[in-house]
Symmetry: C2
């Protein structure tokens, strides 16, 4: 696995019972996954020779993040290395412009969008979509390198549109969708074409960062849930994704029984919106990602409890989370804590908690309380 | 953790979400746990200096097995190392004579027993218990070093009683209990005295090796189950056990509603009879063992499904288990496989499977089928 973050850490954990020999390419020995994996190579994933050396003796290469250059992956593939997902699929998770173009070609509903060249072009894009007023605000995104709200701007007038162009990478303009809420559809697909779909979840974002995930999405009509799962499975198949695919979605307008579902982003790796599966599904997203990239039969994606809630634990002002950690475990013996071994810094994702049960309000309160207490925003 | 076997492997796995930094003392780099742990020291647990070096920088020392010499552990303790469970408790898991003496002193029901000096002494022990005939058969056990049927003999006449004495260690004679079935009570206790009890399970042995575990024990009357949990909690408390304690039991005679429960063996570490908790309980035995030895609040031990069945996967005649592994995963997407990374040898425990659900017959058949198919004793 390339990349030493928490996704690699939890993938290693999930591979242990499967008997998998896990090898890690990590930036440092202190990365989240490097702290727990037995076979770690320290190196730079941007260097082709490093990747080549690392790949030797691996049955298959997979990823903790989308940042490995596509050209390097093509070179590895040409040399016979099994890269899953392959660069022909991964490009749609790396390049938002390519993703929008391809999904639109497939007739999959997306926000109105266009690659823009400069602030004047942004204004033109805004005007084209205007039903009233000037068509602003508009969302601008660098086509590569953004995540967790980075590389994304909401622009309310042309004068504010200069910043995104400064990085020198192409910029995508999108309509600001007036969504009711955000959803995510997680599916896993094997090279042999077997695929499983997890229940569609609601994802609550705060300041552009995933805060809480509720599985399944409350009140989503069963027909809409199935339609959304089918949408994700179709994307996985059309794009030839191997491994875990998270489709982040907007539920917007439409009527209650037939909501309008638009694709926001794609991620081709285990994803924050699937962390609830560790304690809430028969087979976790990490387990199924490992199975998929090794072309093992996939595990049952069904939920184990009526409701599971995941809440991210962000760093707060206190670097020592230990007293809060003790308190949360003592308060709720059913709380499932997942720490990443990272130093606490304000706003940094350092772990998450899962809770499950029959009563959504209770399950949600338990997760929320633990995450807030660990961050230090509440003290009782 | 001292010892590189599968218990250490699964303890490391359980410690990852808790954010634990796990350090392993392993006999070789190829041991089950050494294949997956990030921080492994290779050394001999029988050497005090090795233990001393290993303990440096550890907050607490715990064990994958009971074989570390008590004297070494006392020396480490005297030097300020936290050893959990402590040698004063561990001695009762290491020395069956000391265990029988202590439990009898506490009034805890055990099979009739006595340390014997020679075959004639065995005959005398047999005659004392005879209600009819000569009192044979008698069970002989070396007081130290036995497990999985090793170091245990069922002797039917004095002439067969010579072998157990050859090892030169004390020999314990016990009545052969005419039991209905074997049970196990798993509890976990913290240094601060907090304790949790898992449901009492039925343990099915084949040729002296644990074959199948059914959680909870079918048909055990609730009052008897509670009494058995209390018995195990009392042993943990009286012996000052810290960490996981497995109490292996005989259910013998008595009447259906009030069975006679006798203690067979004690193990002070995660135990085969608790493997079902990985997929069948809110908190696994490995998770709670880690919490206990670090004096963290313990997790909820309650079951997540009406029935969970664990079946050990033993090596069969075919060294390559991979085709069977694929078949089992494809046949049963809900099957939870736990492989230990060991080479397959006939009769060797190389993994286990867990299944859970509402219908015991179905759950049991699924576990049995997978274990038998992996071993190669069935082919369809």
């Amino acid at each position: 696995m390339i990349g030493g973050g928490q996704l690699a850490r939890m993938t290693h954990q999930a591979g242990i019972p499967l008997g998998i020999r896990f090898k890690l390419l990590s930036g440092t020995t202190k990365d989240s996954a490097a702290l727990v994996a037995g076979d770690t190579v320290v190196g730079d994933y941007r260097d082709l020779d490093t990747l080549r050396d690392f790949a030797r003796g691996c049955d298959v290469i997979t990823f903790d993040h989308e940042h490995v250059p596509t050209a390097h992956l093509r070179a590895l593939q040409a040399e016979g290395v099994a890269v899953r997902p392959g660069p022909h699929a991964l490009v749609y998770a790396q390049d938002k412009g390519a993703m929008r173009a391809r999904l639109t070609e497939l007739g999959i509903p997306c926000p109105r969008h266009r690659i823009v060249a400069d602030p004047a072009d942004v204004t033109a894009f805004a005007r084209e979509g205007a039903r009233e007023g000037d068509g602003f605000p508009v969302v601008l995104k660098t086509v590569r390198g953004g995540y967790d709200g980075k590389g994304v701007w909401v622009v309310r007038r042309e004068e504010d549109a200069a910043v995104p162009f400064r990085a020198g990478v192409p910029v995508l303009a999108e309509e600001l969708v007036d969504f009711r809420r955000e959803l995510a559809a997680n599916v896993v697909r094997s090279p042999s074409g077997q695929a499983v779909a997890y229940p569609v979840v609601e994802s609550v974002q705060v300041d552009g960062v995933c805060d809480t995930v509720i599985a399944p999405a409350p009140g989503l009509p069963p027909a809409a849930a199935v339609r959304t799962q089918q949408l994700a499975l179709r994307i996985a198949s059309e794009l030839d994704v191997v491994g875990h695919l998270a489709v982040e979605l907007f539920e917007a307008g439409g009527d209650e029984g037939e909501p309008r579902i638009l694709v926001n982003e794609l991620a081709m790796r285990p994803h924050n919106s699937g962390h609830w599966t560790q304690d809430g599904a028969v087979t976790s997203q990490f387990d199924n990602h490992v199975r998929a990239v090794l072309d093992l039969p996939l595990g049952d994606p069904r939920p184990r409890a009526p409701w599971t809630v995941m809440a991210n634990v962000l760093g707060g002002d206190y670097p020592d989370m230990y007293p809060a950690y003790l308190h949360c475990m003592a308060r709720d013996p059913g709380l499932k804590i997942h720490m990443y071994g990272k130093d606490v810094k304000p706003g940094r994702k350092v772990g998450h908690v899962n809770t499950y049960g029959d009563d959504l309000a209770d399950v949600r309160e338990r997760a929320r309380h633990a995450a807030d207490y660990l961050r230090g925003t509440i003290t009782e």
